[in-house]
Amino acid sequence: MADLVTIRHLSKKFGAHVTALEDVTLDIAANAFVSIVGPSGCGKSTLLRLISGLIPATSGQITVAGETVRGPIRQSSMVFQSPVLLPWRTVLENVFFVAELGHKKPSTLRGRALELLEMAGLGGFEDHYPHQLSGGMQQRASICRALLMNPPLILMDEPFGALDVLTREILGFKLQEMWGANRNTVLFITHSISEAILLSDTVVVMTPRPGKISEIIPIDLPRPRTIDTLSEPRFIELAARIRSHIGTQWEG
């Protein structure tokens, strides 16, 4: 499989003294689901913003689909920790938002948008306003927004971080299902070790201060993964291996 994203000796400093990332080298295969786990302050989000071109690197190189990243890249779309839906737009209009900015006519995308919403379990909610939905539903709508234009790369910055554990688990399986339908390349940032293992082809473990990659672990568990996967010996083994990289005071 070809690599969609290549990162070479990437470093990012904020000011003179804060090194957020140091010498990160990583390849992300096309159509892969890659998670980055690590404690707060390990530069996970910084890495994501560097790849998207929203902030410039201090040194090193990133390419996406063969092109060097020099500014915000159109091939990607983002999902944030909060759904950031526009409150004056209905769910459907929100799903169109990113496409509209790229000058795509919503009318041509209506079918796909409704399909995505249906898949996300939001069928029938397309004309609701965000405030009429629960946090989990809002986040699903924001995932639909990211998927609408079918970008090669989807960057997710702790998308389930603000949700309760139960909703989070359900949404994880939902995301697996939605990803399976299209297989866009996903870079997924999370604090949760189990979430990372359940969703990913590869888990990248990072350690903080300065942010570095400590291990890249391929996840060989068969898909689709279910709630039962959590109790498989291989899952437990992988979880223990990831946890061993991260300090004992930290919970996944």
Binding site: L54, P72, L86
Partner: protein, 251 residues
């Protein structure tokens, strides 16, 4: 909603009844405090006078308010989009806000005459600041994530303005109107107090001059009707066009 309307109506009715039937026992003469029935009679008697003067005051108030909205929003836009304008406009407006506009009303009358111009300008000056501050907040306080999303999608500044900033600012501007509208009215009336021979402010003054206190109250009734209609119109606009707001009371 219905329940609260009923409660307010009941309260007002009880207060008016108390005023009507208890005040006579206190032996207060009509030239100090007329009874509601006397005020109402005077209001009906002078109805065409009230309507004419109110129309004049409403005209200067609304015109001043409209200019206030135009200039206030325009200044806010300059602050948001023109970096060099920000450092000039912000301190200037902050200082300007420190001057009680009412205090410069006599000056305005000298400069712009006894006609409607001085009233319009005073109404404009009083409404400007709240509109500027609220629209600036509304235009500026956009979630960083939304801005990032737009940058990734290749959205232009113009798109961000029409699709995000303006829409975000709308409820802030209607909130500002609820403050600025009564302020603009204060501007008009004070302008009429200081110079001129027409308008509700003038009517109040002439009532006072002639010790016609019922007329003063009748003029106040006209003003109250006007502000109620104005505030209701803003509320109606919000209900029709800003229905996506979860609750107008939350903010």
């Amino acid at each position: 909603m219905m329940k609260s309307t009923l409660r307010i109506t009941m309260t007002v009715a009880i207060l008016l009844a108390a005023w009507q039937y208890l005040v006579p026992y206190a032996d207060i003469p009509a030239y100090i405090l007329p009874l509601p029935s006397e005020i109402w009679a005077r209001f009906l008697e002078t109805f065409s006078l009230q309507a004419y003067n109110l129309a004049v005051t409403a005209g200067t108030t609304l015109l001043g308010l409209c200019i206030g909205v135009l200039v206030g929003v325009l200044l806010a836009l300059l602050v948001v989009y023109v970096k060099s304008a920000k450092s000039i406009i912000l301190p200037f407006l902050a200082t300007f806000n420190g001057i009680p506009k009412i205090a410069i009303a006599p000056l305005l009358v000298i400069w712009f005459g006894l006609g409607p111009d001085s009233k319009i300008i005073l109404a404009f000056l009083l409404s400007l600041f709240p509109i500027f501050v609220h629209s600036l907040t509304g235009l500026n306080e956009i979630d960083d994530d939304i801005l990032d999303l737009a940058r990734l999608a290749g959205g232009s500044n113009w798109q961000m303005f029409t699709k995000v900033r303006l829409m975000h600012a709308l409820p802030y501007i209607t909130d500002a109107l609820k403050v600025a509208f009564p302020l603009a009215l204060v501007g008009s009336i004070v302008g009429e107090f200081i110079g001129g021979n027409v308008g509700i402010g003038y009517l109040v003054l002439s009532g006072q001059f002639n010790m016609d206190i019922a007329l003063v109250f009748a003029a106040l009734l006209s003003i109250t009707i006007f502000t109620s209609v104005g505030i209701s119109a803003i509320g109606l606009f919000e209900r029709l066009f800003l229905k996506w707001q979860p609750s107008r009371r939350e903010r």
